[in-house]
């Protein structure tokens, strides 16, 4: 009973947020809707007893990544309703609609397939049939942190290290790309170039509209 209510509320929050991201005209509102979806997913994780994943979902995605989105939106000056009617090709719309419907169909088929496999089987039946080890799930809920850590640093240690390496390379690359070289013109020209570029890009849509 409680499970159904929690799932309904969290699922509704996810869906409303997801639709809101697409439909919001204002990028800041869209980012906030994304946060709502992330919270809904976090609640679903808690309902699945994946507490650590839920906490990480909130800390990393809601707390860091979307904050960075908002930073970029605010600092680049695109935090106003964009002119969405311009520039879209009619053919693109039809293609997008086709792909969207196709994706939805695949998703529904997948869910139906999974549902057929486990049709009518409750978790305790699955356990007695040896499909799911409920006892293992039940005893490991408090230590899902150590379970994740164990597999992350033993079975998947190469993937983990490579991912960290990739992130470091990305950071260094960003720093190198973002930095101007101040060698030739003493730095002042570079600085002025830095300041004027975003100012212009920020002012253009306003002027266009007024």
């Amino acid at each position: 009973m409680v499970e159904v209510v929690v799932f309904a509320v969290a699922g509704a929050a996810c869906l409303v947020g997801a639709v809101g991201v697409v439909l919001s005209r204002n990028p800041v509102h869209a980012a906030l809707m994304l946060v709502m979806t992330l919270f809904g997913v976090a609640v679903l994780f808690v309902a699945l007893q994946a507490h650590f994943i839920a906490a990480v979902q909130v800390i990393v995605y809601a707390g860091a990544i979307v904050v960075l989105f908002l930073f970029v939106i605010m600092l680049l000056g695109v935090d106003r309703a964009a002119e969405l009617s311009l520039g879209a090709l009619p053919a693109q719309r039809w293609t997008a609609a086709a792909f969207g419907l196709g994706g939805a169909a695949v998703l529904v088929w997948l869910v139906a397939a999974v549902d057929r496999i486990f049709k009518g089987a409750h978790s305790y039946e699955l356990e007695s049939a040896g499909v799911v080890e409920t006892d293992a799930v039940a005893t490991s809920y408090a230590t899902d942190v150590s379970a994740i850590a164990r597999s992350l640093f033993s079975d998947y240690v190469y993937a983990f290290e490579l991912t960290s390496l990739l992130l470091i390379v990305a950071v260094i690359g960003t720093v190198i790309l973002a930095r101007r070289s101040y060698g030739a013109d003493g730095g002042r020209a570079g600085q002025h170039g830095d300041e004027s570029a975003p100012a212009e890009s920020g002012a253009t849509p306003q002027e266009a509209r007024q």
Partner: protein, 457 residues
């Protein structure tokens, strides 16, 4: 018990729920809510009185005895003030932001154990029950919730709290709030790393995320609640606590890290445009966060409610000790405000990124090593020498790289900002690398006020 899950790890009540559970949860939430509100009122009075004393003033002394009701009077005044909303503000987000701040401040307090006898039952006689008390015939813990993620909830709430400040600044449609909010979120994100790592130090020592378990491991078995030797303050070395205290002060935007609302530069920071009850909500959230952070520090490093249990009301003593410890930290925060001048923005960023985070990384490696040696039972001299030698080499390599990076950064900065420029050109951009360049850009392009909130004017 289909899932075989204890009450704390059963958020969906799969085992069924009865009125006792609901009553206990309801009472806990209500008590925590009311206690936090009253504590906030007291904290405002405490801070004003204390800071007046340190500055040889009298402070509030009109409303109530010793001015105790001053905060209440201010609160009532806030309710009756006009609620202004700037014409350029984004209506929805402007209303949403104060609630995000206030709600996260409340939720973070839920994981703090405020009492319960943790001492060994054998030595105390009757009362000790592993941190529980009995309500309505059910054993329960004296905290609103003890989720399996425990202390991570604090980090989650402090990262969500960034939204309150950030959206408040942006939605006001005015330049000073925007600068204030950009500063605030950059500061909060920077110091969250150091804060999280000092929490990790405690988690390594405790082997658990749950605050209940963290506290019970700091309480010894004797009747007087164990010695401070068992507190994680000492068992993790003092370093994590110092880092936690500094980064918590920065997270709270308390002086000397209150650049967010630096009056001389930003009028009032992110809440400049707020008035009436919405401003009061920000104010409330700020003071509540101070109380929560003090309580968390007591929980993590000072044994929480640990202390001697004497006679009579055995369940009351732990709460008394807890409150006394929290009060000490509240005093420290006020003391900071009265004595320390505000940092410059580049100093703030250097302290966070170049001092606290590297120090904490080194210390975490040390603690992890100690734990590893203990877990593996390494004790022969050869094993110890190999381990110590390898880690010393690792630390030396890290230190060399850090020093080289800092030197390179210093050289590049000097080249960028001071080479070939006269003094007038240098002075206004002296703090440019971190602070004013994004702010200037923000002014140039981002303030929503320039074209109306929806851009359709």
């Amino acid at each position: 018990m289909r899932w075989g899950v204890a009450v704390t790890g059963d958020p969906l009540f799969a085992d069924g729920v009865d009125w006792g559970d609901i009553g206990i949860v309801g009472i806990k939430v209500l008590v925590a809510f009311a206690a936090l509100l009253v504590a906030t009122m007291f904290m405002i009075w405490f801070e004003r009185k204390l800071i007046s004393d340190m500055q040889h003033r009298i402070g509030p002394n009109v409303a109530g005895p010793w001015g105790l009701l001053q905060a209440l009077a201010d609160g009532i005044k806030f309710f009756f003030k006009e609620d202004l909303r700037p014409a350029n503000a984004d209506p929805l987000v402007f209303r949403l932001a104060p609630y995000i701040s206030a709600v996260t401040a409340f939720v973070a307090f839920a994981i703090v154990p405020i009492g319960g006898v943790f001492t060994d039952p054998a030595s105390t006689g009757a009362a000790g029950r592993g941190g529980t008390v009995t309500l309505f015939g059910k054993e329960t813990i004296l905290q609103v919730a003890d989720p399996p993620v425990g202390i991570l909830l604090l980090l989650a709430m402090s990262s969500v709290a960034v939204y309150g400040v950030m959206l408040a600044g942006w939605s006001s449609g005015s330049k000073y709030p925007l600068i204030g909010s950009v500063r605030a979120s950059a500061q909060a994100i920077s110091y969250e790393a150091a804060l999280g790592m000092s929490v990790v130090a405690v988690v390594i020592a405790a082997g658990s995320l749950s605050t209940q378990s963290i506290v019970s491991q700091q309480v010894g078995g004797t009747w007087w609640g164990g010695s401070p030797d068992d507190w994680f303050l000492l068992t993790t070395g003092i370093v994590p606590f110092v880092v936690f205290l500094i980064s918590a002060t920065a997270e709270l935007n308390r002086p000397p890290f209150d650049l967010v609302e630096a009056e001389q530069e930003l009028v009032g920071g992110f809440h400049t445009e707020y008035s009436s009850i919405r401003f009061a909500l920000f104010f409330l959230a700020e003071f509540m966060n101070v109380i929560t952070m003090s309580a968390i520090m007591v929980t993590l490093f000072f044994g929480g409610p640990a202390g001697p249990v004497f006679f009579g009301l055995t369940w009351l003593w732990p709460t008394v000790w807890f409150l006394a410890k929290v009060l000490a930290f509240l005093f420290v925060f006020v003391w900071f405000r009265a004595t320390l001048p505000r940092l410059r923005y580049d100093q703030l960023m250097s302290l966070g990124w170049k001092v606290l985070i590297p120090v904490m990384l080194f210390w975490l490696m040390f603690l992890g090593l100690r734990q590893l040696v203990a877990d593996q039972g390494w004790s022969t001299p050869r094993e110890l020498v190999v381990v110590l030698g390898l880690s010393a080499a690792g630390l030396a390599l890290g230190w060399t790289l850090l020093a080289a990076a800092l030197r390179a950064a210093k050289r590049n900065t000097a080249g960028e900002y001071f080479e070939g420029q006269d003094l007038e050109a240098v002075t206004p951009t002296a703090d440019a690398p971190t602070g004013s360049v994004p702010a200037d850009r923000a002014l140039a392009g981002a303030s929503p006020g320039e074209a109306g909130p929806e851009g359709e004017s």
